[in-house]
Symmetry: C2
Subunit: 213 residues, 2 copies
């Protein structure tokens, strides 16, 4: 049966219940491990579920941060160094990836705490996660402050992509599921997506069909 | 074997190949059918893969639009009426949902073209998709123009949520997979996510565990 939450009902909900409801209704997301390094050389790793495709040319990804009212190592490192990495956790890395969300002391690296390996490539001043089958280097391109709730959208420019080339299809598509890359919902639920189909570019009055790639 | 695309290599790629590569690397997404109505009363429905959770209190979702250089019915209707809906397609609705991305004439409703049912609830001036197990009413809260590539982030405030109450767990989490809700990658690949686990809030030096809900 269809049930309704009105604005007033949503506002009256218990804080945690509302967070679960609204976060889960935001749907399936790509969790990414964001690697940064402070200007003092301290590495940091944190899981985010707010990755947004901004554009392909130039290649830009967005990442949403909560208000900068408390210490936020990842955001501060990105703003100070201009460099970060995105690393895609697999099913086998699930527990390690989630553990990076714990609030560790400032001087402890989440790489060590979670048992993941920091890797450095091509002099990029932010660490990659060696275990991740897809690793992307980004540079800070733009910062947008969202007035509605003081969150911050960081736009990053893709500087380099490192990935298992067995994953690359002839048309440029990367079938992430073949590397067992995780999806998530909200802050605590993890999923393994099963591929159904790819569909051809839709045209008016033509039935949808699977493309021949 | 790990393979690398440098910034120069990404720039030199064929346009479609690069779009496939960058879009698919943005990972698993929640496709949503965005329902709007023009000030002339013409209903419109279009699939988007750029849903972003902005916050739970107030409950805000973002949606990214490409540059407003050509006619964009959905964006124009949102800016003119301030009202829209998000509707979550299921596996059974896959072909109909994808078909809404075809470029129909301005005076043809994608509801009719794709064979989906426009529903109106509580005098909300934008149509819902009756077949969707989750339907959300949003009002325009904020517009952000992204300088890096002229895309537009529309922030919407959740005004009402309509959904199958069999889906609601005691802590507010909505297990979308139980309604066969789709995930997607890029512009043409569709997935059915299989639930793996939910994990407890991570704490330093405690191993991750599944919560008891």
């Amino acid at each position: 049966m269809m049930s309704t939450f009105s604005l007033e009902q949503i506002r009256a909900l218990d804080r945690r219940y509302r967070a679960n409801l609204i976060n889960s209704l935001a749907g399936f997301k790509q969790p990414v491990l964001v690697g940064t390094q402070s200007t003092q050389g301290q590495s940091n790793l944190a899981i985010f579920n707010s990755l947004l495709h901004i554009g392909a040319d130039p290649a830009l990804f967005g990442l949403l941060f909560r208000p900068h009212s408390v210490r936020r190592d990842t955001l501060e490192n990105i703003l100070e160094t201009g460099c970060y990495t995105l690393n895609y956790p697999t099913v086998a890395m699930l527990h390690q990836a989630h553990q990076t969300s714990a609030k560790y002391p400032h001087d402890r690296s989440e790489f060590d705490a979670a048992g993941l390996t920091a890797g450095y490539r091509n002099d990029w001043p932010a660490p990659f996660v060696e275990e991740a089958p897809v690793q992307i280097a980004l540079s800070l391109a733009e910062r947008l402050d969202i007035q509605s709730n003081n969150t911050i959208l960081i736009i990053g420019k893709i500087e380099a992509i490192h990935f298992d080339d067995a994953l690359l299809l002839p048309d440029g598509f990367v079938p992430l599921e073949q590397a067992d890359i995780l999806a998530c919902v909200g802050l605590d639920a993890y999923y393994q997506p099963r591929h159904i189909t790819r569909l051809a570019y839709a045209r008016p009055d033509e039935p949808p069909a699977s493309p021949d790639h």
